[in-house]
Structure formats: structure tokens, C-alpha cells
């Protein structure tokens, strides 16, 4: 069986740091089991894993929605438990399910976000204009969110998350529900953001996307990190030129087979 890996990098420029983080929901089964990882500035970090692997739980702990049972999490250099407000100001978050206040108009929601994050009026007007145009929402900003489709809500969540211009983007399955054009634009924006020396941390099921845009990635299964590094490092690790999909299935399949043997 593969041993869980640490994904910790020493040195400067760490935007997200998880150290020995664990979380269990009912006190018995660990959804996240002793994870350690760092995400550097200027990098797009992909977080991959099968359903129920612990991706969303990890993201919920990074964003402060859940409190870890043990370990520490730093976002933008601030501990999410000790200095929650400073940590929360440093990231923008898009959840996997774009639930957003349905009875607000999109523009009201964005104003709310702008006020909470103290975005100056001029900046928010120009960013809302720019982002809504890129995602094709400029004509429906004055409509209630309840009239939006799933994909439109997802785009609105992305605009809301990026409105305060946070250094760290945390995106949980951001491509789900997006049309190909918006998906392409988002990938482009993620690259631009990382190239400006900022950080993108995102989870995905779409291995092609991860293969194409991630600078580094981690594969999580049953709450433990099974691999962490670049695609090339992964190929070296497996001594093969296979696709990410094949290696991913090898990794995740390996644990499943071991489990079957145990049973």
C-alpha cells in the first residue's frame, strides 16, 4: 500500500499552509487524516480525489466553515482559527454548490460583498463591469438571482469571490455547471492570477483540466494525501509516461484494492 505523503515546502512565499490537520465528523471515521501541505505564491494548486475523499472537508477547514480537530491552517500568513478576519480577507471562495441569496438581485449581492470587504466604489464598479462582461452576465445584473440558471449562479459566485481582489482564490469544483466558454475564461483568469504572483487552490474531478493548468497537485483519498507534486514528479514517481488519468486511477485504485483485500 502507498504511504500517505507530506506536501510541505520549507521557505518563503507560502500562501496556504496546513500542518497535521485532521477532522472527523462523528468522532470515529476521519474525513481528513493528518494532512500537511503548502501552496506557494505564483502557483495553481490542484486538489484531486474521488468522491468522499475529503476534498470539500479540507476546503471547508481552510475557509473557516469547519474547525479542524487538530493541526493548524494559515491562509495569507494568518491562522484561520486565531486570526479569522485577517485570514478571511485574504481569500475569495467559490463553493461546490453555488447557493446564493435567491431573492437578492445580482447587483445587490455584489454590493453586499463590496461593502463587507470594503471595496472602494470606483474599484467595485470597474471590477463588476469587467468581470460581468467576461462571464456574460452584464445584461442580467439587475435581475433576481432566483431567475438565474445553475451556471449563471456559479459565474456570479466567481464574480463575488473575485470582487475584493483577494490574493488567494479557493475554488471548490469551479468548472461544474460552466459552459465551455466561461470554463475557458476562468482557466485563463486562474493562470493570469498565478502569473501575477498570487495563488489559486482548486479542487476538481476533471483530470484534463488539472493536467493542463496545475503547477502542482495533490491527490487525496480517504482523508490522506496519496501524492503531492508536479505532473512530471508524478510521472517520475510512477516511472511512466502515462496520462494523469491512468496514474490517478492507479493511485486511488491501489487503496481500494488494499481495502478489498482487508475485507
Amino acid at each position: 500500500m502507498l504511504q500517505p505523503l507530506s506536501c510541505y515546502h520549507e521557505g518563503e512565499g507560502k500562501m496556504i499552509t496546513l500542518r497535521d490537520v485532521s477532522k472527523s465528523y462523528d468522532g470515529t471515521v476521519k474525513a481528513v487524516d493528518n494532512i500537511t501541505l503548502t501552496v506557494q505564491s505564483g502557483e495553481i494548486f490542484g486538489f484531486l480525489g474521488p468522491n468522499g475523499a475529503g476534498k470539500t472537508t479540507t476546503i471547508k477547514m481552510i475557509t473557516g466553515i469547519l474547525t479542524p480537530d487538530q493541526g493548524s491552517i494559515l491562509v495569507g500568513g494568518h491562522d484561520i482559527v486565531q486570526e479569522p478576519l485577517a485570514a478571511k480577507r485574504s481569500f475569495g471562495f467559490v463553493p461546490d454548490d453555488p447557493h446564493v441569496f435567491p431573492r437578492l438581485k445580482a447587483i445587490e449581492y455584489l454590493r453586499f460583498i463590496g461593502d463587507i470587504y470594503h471595496v472602494p466604489t470606483e474599484e467595485r464598479v470597474s471590477r463588476i463591469g469587467l468581470l460581468s462582461q467576461r462571464f456574460g452576465l452584464e445584461d442580467v445584473l439587475n435581475d433576481r438571482i432566483q431567475s438565474y440558471s445553475h451556471g449563471m449562479r456559479q459565474k456570479l459566485m466567481i464574480i463575488g469571490a473575485l470582487l475584493p481582489a483577494p490574493d488567494v482564490w479557493i475554488l471548490d469544483e469551479p468548472m461544474t455547471g460552466l459552459d465551455p466558454r466561461s470554463s475557458y475564461i476562468l482557466k485563463e483568469m486562474m493562470r493570469e492570477h498565478a502569473d501575477r504572483g498570487k495563488t489559486v487552490f482548486f479542487s476538481t474531478h476533471i483530470l484534463d483540466v488539472a493536467e493542463k493548468i496545475c503547477d502542482r497537485l495533490a491527490i487525496i483519498d480517504q482523508g490522506r494525501i496519496m501524492f503531492c507534486g508536479t505532473i512530471q514528479e508524478m510521472r517520475n514517481h510512477f516511472s511512466s509516461e502515462s496520462s494523469l488519468e491512468t496514474m490517478f486511477l492507479d493511485l486511488v485504485g491501489a487503496t481500494t484494492e488494499d481495502e478489498a483485500d482487508d475485507i
Binding site: I65, T67, D115
Partner: protein
């Protein structure tokens, strides 16, 4: 038939009929279920006693004129009308706005199975209402007129058959409305309008009931007879099936009753078959595409954008967001906002009715004259005002549903860079502001109707903050301890949220405590002011410190 019954059971559950609260663990759920059922029994019992009492009143009044049989006609006509009125609301809700429509349509079910199951659900709702409202009067009539056993047998058939025709008519009317017009295609607007209509009907019944029983005693029987007779006469002609039902019950001893019952069943069956046939044509074309609402597609000009996104304080933005959701979500609007305006109107009704009555005017003058500094009435009046303020503030449920209303969106509370403490206070201040609106409306009414002296008004205003704080802060505490965040229907966040009930109970408890303390100890003015003004503020301060201490920790511990 078996599939249809199974489907009806699923639709019934999906409509949130099960009054189950899942604020906490299994034990709480069990307790809350028992509590809800008890509450329902008490309410149903109250309604039944009221309806039975009214029957006795009318029966005795009409007996000398030998017109007591009109009572049966009166209640059956009222039942028909109620079943029709609520039928429209239920049909639109169950047929068009329940979230199951899109899930049922792709299933391999026959059209008549879906329509039949939904009609059964509507009939179940109506049967509950009608059994509570119509059965007691009919039983009272049977007992009072010494009817035989066959009367009760016919009564059972009538109760089951009575809603069939009005539901069918309501269903067809609703389907035509939904198929060919856009009147009710906006779910929010429909919920709001229907909610307000129900409220108006309730107010009209209260007002009408009082004016009916307030008839002068000398020609009481004759005038009741005339009114009831004309009402029944018109109704029986308009409402199909009622003539047969009335005939069967008023002549239950004779053989004609069997014929009347058979005719009632036959007419109902024909209309039901006709409705099922027409529904297949009307229903599905009206319901498809209902969920997808359009948007206007109008680009905002830069000036509009600047105006719409102008910056303000984070705290104000948070309150504004919550207020918008309260005002725009029909179920929240009806339960949390309208409630503040209802109680002052209820207080106003007796004033409106008794406005011309010399005795009532004399009572008001007497009340005004007792509001002098040394009068023993003043402390009691202040306690009553404090009690009213607590009651109004406790019943709006804004603070006691503040977190539950977030539901799935509760994660926003956790990710926003705003301290939990500030978020709690933004929600609390909104609750307090709405409480204050209701209370001040009452104060304005008191000023207009009684015209109390300025010193009394000053004292009155001084006791309000304590009442508002002492009802809102515990409401928020209940929410912090047992928020009901898992719901699929907004109704569950307020109507099936035990915290709202606890909030109402706190209001009633404080009201009772204030009156009992002042009256039982015959407190003079100064201690009364101390108890109603200073003590609540000190208690509120303690609760505020408690919330400051435990509130953020409780929010932190909530897993979402």
C-alpha cells in the same frame, strides 16, 4: 389505485405537512413532534368548541321560529365556500408550486394517477379543515334535535362528499388561470397575495362574528332568522350538492334522505369524472415550464451601476441584506413582518365596533380620567402596556429565526470577514427594529384613541426598550443553541421552528410576570417603573454579556 395512493402519500409528505422540527437530536425531534401534535389538538379543540358554541347560540335563537334547520344549511354552505376558497390556494400550491412536479413528470405514471394523487392531497387538507369546523356544529345539531343514528351516518357521508365538488370547481378554475393567464405564475407574488387573503378572511370572520352576536336582543331571533335564511337561500342555489346534503341531514328520519345522499354522490362523481377528464388537457400544458422564470436582459448604464453599488458600512449592508430577504420571501414577510401590524389592528377592532356605543365612549373617558399620577390604575396600565409590548415583540419571531432563515446559506456567516459578534448584533438589531415598529404602531393608536397625558406617554416609552431587548435576545440565544439550518422549504425555518415558539412563550411569560407582579403586590408607581424599566435593562445586559461570551463559540461549533 394503489400507485395513486402511494403517490398521494409522497406528495402529502413533500408538501411539508408533517409538523416535524429537526432543530437538534432525535430526542428533541420526538419531543417537538409531541409538542406540535398537542398544539394542533389544542387549536383544533378551540376551533371546534367555538363552532359548537356558535351552533348552540343560533339553534336556541331560531328554535322559537322553527327555523333551526337553517343552521345545517348555514354551516354546509360555509363549508362549501371555505373548501372552494382554500381549494384554489391548495390546488395552485400542490399542483403547480410543489417541488415534486418536475420529478413526477418524467416518471412512468399515468396522467390521471398524478392528477388523482394531487386531488387526494388537496382533499385531505380540506377534510382536516372541514372536520374541525363543520363536524362539531353538525353533531351539536344532531344532539339538540334528538336525531336518530341514521343522521350521524349521513353526516359522515356528507362530510366526506362535501369538499369533492368545490375542490373540482377550484381545480378547474385554477387550471384555466394557470393555463391561459399569467396571474399566478409568479410563485412569490401568489404566496404573498394568498397569505394576505387568508389573513383578511380571518379578520373578516372575527369582525363579522362579533357584529352578528352584537345584534340587539329584542328582535334577535327574527333578525338572525332573516340573515341566515337569506344567506342559506342564496348559497344553496349557487353551490351544487349543498341542497342534497342539507336535505339528507334535515330530513334524516324519512326515506327521502337516502335519495338525497345517492343524488349527492352521483353529482359529485359526475363532476369528479369531468374534472379528471378536463385536467388531462389543462394541467400538463399549464405546469410545464413554470419553474423557469425569465429575466429582463437590460444592461445597466454606468451611472446606474455607480448608484446601485455605492459603498456603505459593512454592518448596514449586512442588515440591509437580511431586511431585503425578510421583505421579499413571502413566508418570512407574512410571519415576521406582517405580524407586527396585525396585533395593533386586532386591538383596533373593538374600538371600531364600539366607537359609537355610548357605554364604550364612557369607558374610554373613565380610562383617560384615571391616568393621573396618584391613581392606582397607572401602575396596572403600565404593566399592561409592558405586557402588550412583550407579546408583540415576542410573536414576530425575527430574532428567534435569525440563523434558521439562512438555511444552506449559513456558510456565508462563517466565511465573511466580519466577526460573529457583529453578525449576531446585525441580526438582533433588525429584529428589534421590527419589534419597535409594531409597538410604536400600538402606541400611536393609544394616543389617537385614548389620548393619554404626556407624562404617561413618557413612562410608556421608557418601558419599551426593556420589553424589546428581553424578548429579542433570548430569541437569538435559542437560535444560537438550536438553529434549524436543514430545510428544503422556507416555511420550515419559521413555521416549524421551535425557537419561534419559544420566543412567543418568552413574550407571554414576561407579559404574565409583569401583570401578576404589579397587580398581586399592588405596587405603587415608583417600584413599578423600577421593575418595568430598570430590571429588564439589567437582565438584558446580563444576556448581552452571555451572548458575547458564548455566541461566537456556538456559531463556530455549528457544522455546515
Amino acid at each position: 389505485m394503489k400507485t395513486m395512493l402511494k403517490l398521494a402519500r409522497t406528495v402529502f409528505r413533500g408538501n411539508g405537512v408533517g409538523i416535524l422540527a429537526d432543530n437538534a437530536g432525535r430526542r428533541w425531534r420526538k419531543l417537538s413532534r409531541i409538542g406540535s401534535i398537542l398544539l394542533l389538538i389544542i387549536l383544533a379543540g378551540y376551533m371546534a368548541v367555538m363552532a359548537g358554541g356558535t351552533t348552540l347560540y343560533f339553534y336556541d335563537a331560531l328554535l322559537p321560529l322553527s327555523m333551526q334547520h337553517l343552521i345545517v344549511g348555514l354551516f354546509l354552505n360555509s363549508g362549501w365556500l371555505l373548501a372552494f376558497f382554500f381549494g384554489i390556494l391548495h390546488v395552485i400550491s400542490v399542483f403547480y408550486y410543489s417541488s415534486d412536479v418536475e420529478k413526477l413528470l418524467p416518471l412512468p405514471l399515468k396522467a390521471e394517477q398524478i392528477i388523482g394523487a394531487k386531488l387526494l392531497v388537496v382533499a385531505a387538507y380540506e377534510l382536516i379543515y372541514l372536520t374541525i369546523l363543520i363536524a362539531p356544529p353538525l353533531v351539536v345539531f344532531g344532539v339538540r334535535s334528538a336525531a336518530g343514528i341514521q343522521y350521524y351516518f349521513y353526516m359522515l357521508i356528507v362530510l366526506i362528499m362535501l369538499p369533492v365538488i368545490p375542490i373540482c370547481v377550484a381545480a378547474l378554475l385554477s387550471m384555466v388561470i394557470m393555463r391561459f393567464t399569467t396571474l399566478a405564475r409568479n410563485k412569490d407574488r401568489f404566496s404573498l397575495v394568498s397569505g394576505l387573503l387568508v389573513l383578511l378572511v380571518a379578520l373578516a370572520v372575527t369582525y363579522g362574528g362579533r357584529s352578528m352576536t352584537a345584534l340587539p336582543a329584542d328582535d334577535l331571533a327574527e333578525r338572525i332568522g332573516q340573515r341566515v335564511g337569506s344567506l342559506v337561500g342564496t348559497g344553496t342555489i349557487i353551490f351544487p350538492g349543498v341542497t342534497q346534503a342539507v336535505g339528507a341531514l334535515t330530513e334524516s328520519a324519512g326515506p327521502a334522505a337516502v335519495g338525497q345522499i345517492a343524488l349527492l354522490i352521483f353529482i359529485s362523481a359526475v363532476i369528479l369524472a369531468l374534472t379528471l377528464g378536463l385536467s388531462k388537457v389543462l394541467y400538463f400544458k399549464g405546469v410545464i415550464g413554470l419553474g423557469s422564470s425569465g429575466y429582463r436582459r437590460k444592461k445597466m448604464a454606468r451611472e446606474e451601476m455607480v448608484k446601485a453599488t455605492g459603498s456603505g458600512s459593512a454592518f448596514a449592508a449586512y442588515m440591509l441584506k437580511d431586511l431585503r430577504i425578510l421583505l421579499r420571501t413571502p413566508i418570512f414577510f407574512m410571519n415576521n413582518v406582517i405580524m407586527n401590524f396585525i396585533w395593533p389592528i386586532f386591538v383596533l377592532i373593538p374600538f371600531l365596533q364600539g366607537g359609537q356605543d355610548p357605554e364604550f365612549v364612557a369607558f374610554l373617558t373613565m380610562l383617560r380620567s384615571t391616568l393621573v399620577p396618584d391613581s392606582p390604575t397607572v401602575p396596572i396600565a403600565l404593566a399592561a402596556a409592558f405586557a402588550a409590548a412583550c407579546f408583540i415583540s415576542g410573536t414576530n419571531g425575527v430574532s428567534s429565526s435569525a440563523l434558521s432563515r439562512e438555511g444552506k446559506l449559513f456558510y456565508f456567516v462563517k466565511i465573511l470577514p466580519m466577526s460573529y459578534h457583529r453578525q449576531i448584533w446585525a441580526k438582533l438589531l433588525l429584529g428589534m427594529a421590527l419589534s419597535l415598529i409594531g409597538i410604536f404602531l400600538l402606541v400611536v393608536m393609544l394616543i389617537l384613541l385614548i389620548g393619554p397625558p404626556v407624562w404617561f406617554l413618557t413612562l410608556l416609552i421608557a418601558i419599551i426598550p426593556g420589553a424589546v431587548l428581553l424578548t429579542n435576545i433570548p430569541g437569538m440565544l435559542f437560535e444560537l443553541l438550536w438553529p434549524k439550518l436543514k430545510w428544503d422549504n422556507e416555511q420550515k425555518a419559521v413555521k416549524q421552528n421551535l425557537n419561534v415558539l419559544y420566543g412567543i412563550l418568552v413574550g407571554i411569560l414576561l407579559a404574565a410576570l409583569a401583570i401578576i407582579t404589579v397587580v398581586a403586590f399592588a405596587l405603587p408607581l415608583l417600584p413599578t417603573i423600577l421593575i418595568l424599566c430598570i430590571v429588564p435593562l439589567l437582565l438584558a445586559l446580563g444576556l448581552t454579556l452571555l451572548i458575547r461570551r458564548i455566541g461566537p463559540r456556538l456559531i463556530d461549533s455549528l457544522d455546515v
